[in-house]
Symmetry: C2
Subunit: 330 residues, 2 copies
């Protein structure tokens, strides 16, 4: 049995769900992977930096050693993998980007739930990981933990993917559905907040920034084209007239906030905008459901993955699947 030391960088709801998932899969991890997990570090803005290479309890780490920064924490916790799920600045990916770089530089696998570092540092973090023969993985960053990056990397090699589209922001769907039922955009934002799916700043979802950043991550990794948020044509749903939203819904072509990125030779076309989609089509999602569609010549009508009503456990599972890939890599 191999002992695998894990450290939680950020210990909010996703990290807690991941800790529960690791616990619930303990016997399968032992039998199928020959691995026993032990938390050796936990850090968050409210807790501070805590580490004990002999093991600690993430929910009450106060008997461990208090560290003063990421470097001290990593050297004290000596983890095999860091699970990063901190709050960050969506326009820079910081401080997660620096933390992930430091993790990889010390030869530790980095599993991140954040899209920001994928957008602003994918090439650099990936090169760092390669140079230390470690993995940088981020399956939970897009589509809340359903396979997106691993699907393409592991199941669709040389498929010749030319475009990716989808509904990437469930808050926008919930807001549009609230308006369809007669409410206002602000009612919809409150509804999304009550469901716990809105970003801390919901304007970020409603104005399309969240979808833009996810589309950039998809472009960087899947289409292998560097795309920055400023390169994406962006129209949010805030300025859509509620009467038009309701009429479109009644006519069987509701609005959804759709992201599309495609490659034609060297040109990348990327946009996030409200689109009218046929009721019942793959893009006409409801609630928290997310959908990603892949265009490739070998799939004449395309290939669509839909994750219905994902929750925190789904996001945590994305990190868990990444973790299992790290185990397989070392």
């Amino acid at each position: 049995m191999r002992r695998y030391a894990v450290a939680f960088l950020g210990f909010g709801n996703v990290a807690k769900a991941l800790a529960r998932l690791l616990e619930s899969r303990r016997s399968e991890l032992a039998v199928r992977y020959g691995v026993s997990c032990q938390a050796t570090g936990v850090a968050s803005r409210s807790l501070g930096w805590w580490a004990d290479a002999a093991g600690l309890t993430p929910t009450s780490p106060q008997s461990a050693t208090r560290c003063y920064d990421i470097g001290d924490w990593l050297l004290t916790a000596r983890p095999d993998v860091v699970f990063e799920s901190i709050a960050l600045d969506a326009h820079t990916g910081q401080p997660a980007l620096d933390y992930l770089a430091e993790t990889l530089r010390l030869g530790v696998h980095a599993v991140s739930a954040n899209k920001g570092p994928v957008v602003y540092g994918y090439q650099r973090l990936n090169a760092l990981a390669d140079s230390h023969a470690k993995l940088y993985r981020f399956e939970a960053a897009v589509m809340d933990g359903a396979p997106v990056f691993s699907l393409v990397r592991r199941c669709l090699p040389l498929a010749g993917i030319r475009g990716v589209s989808g509904v990437f922001t469930s808050t926008a769907t919930v807001v549009l559905e609230t308006v369809e039922r007669g409410g206002s955009i602000d009612d919809g934002i409150r509804e999304a907040q009550a469901l716990g799916i809105a970003e801390s700043d919901p304007t970020y979802d409603v104005d399309g920034w969240d979808a833009v950043v996810k589309l950039c991550a998809v472009s960087n990794v899947i289409l292998e084209r560097a795309l920055r948020p400023a390169d994406v044509q962006r129209t949010g749903i805030r300025d859509l007239d509620p009467t038009i939203i309701r009429a479109a819904h009644r006519d069987g072509h509701p609005y959804r906030l759709v992201g599309r990125v495609s490659v034609d030779h060297d040109a990348v076309d990327a946009r996030v905008q409200p689109e009218q989609v046929p009721a019942g089509s793959a893009l006409a999602v409801s609630g928290a459901t997310l959908v990603t569609h892949y265009d490739a010549a070998v799939f004449p009508g395309g290939l669509t993955m839909t994750s219905f009503a994902p929750d925190l456990t789904t996001t945590a599972y994305g990190m868990f699947a990444d973790f299992l890939e790290c185990i397989g890599a070392t």
Copy 2:
């Protein structure tokens, strides 16, 4: 550059599409995988067994050596991988089952497009492959080449999948749609034959046998429960009253031939039957579109993969993706 010798066992439309795909990906195979492919064997009922370890042209192999059986052929062609796509007896998986066993026994990767051997010999073929450190792969056997088995094996580890459902037989969909438009079941069968999607014996599709066999493959591999066709409750679409099919379609709940298999503790429940599905839902597919849905606690509403209008190239791509996994394994 590593030379990779490939042999085609069966050289019908799927194998020909695969040969074209290998040719069209030649430069990517060289750059990304460091591999150059060379056909060294081809065999079919019409051609006979042909092999030349120095290379041959599958479409006109007559300058190669004529062999007298599978063993002679494998020893003469000395392939690294065999692509098997022969016609077979759906009730036994033969002769593909024996051919695949012989391939693996000689230490050659086996990539098969057939579901029969998965149903009747998965455990045995898999054990043979393991004992020779080779792979037995069959991604094209279900869902015409879209990721099903690789999705679960590589992207959904320890996801705790409890059930799989879907529309696995496009012929049944085409027949039902023909009836919905006013035609007969037999009109629909002719339509499916004209589209080239019907099995050689279309009653096999219409009576649900095709879906039953695919469901057994899914159960054996994904749910890790041995399931034989006789264990599946089967109702085909032949005895559905056309007026009822049309009324269901008009009412927005059309019939589709749905397969479902689920596990509850030790009990496996498996059935193939016509079901009324909500128009526009994931199961309300049209034409050749295939859909597979996975139930797991980490995906609260389930995860659905839809392959819209797949064709022969899609099936060939399933074999090609398997081939790339073989390259990675040796």
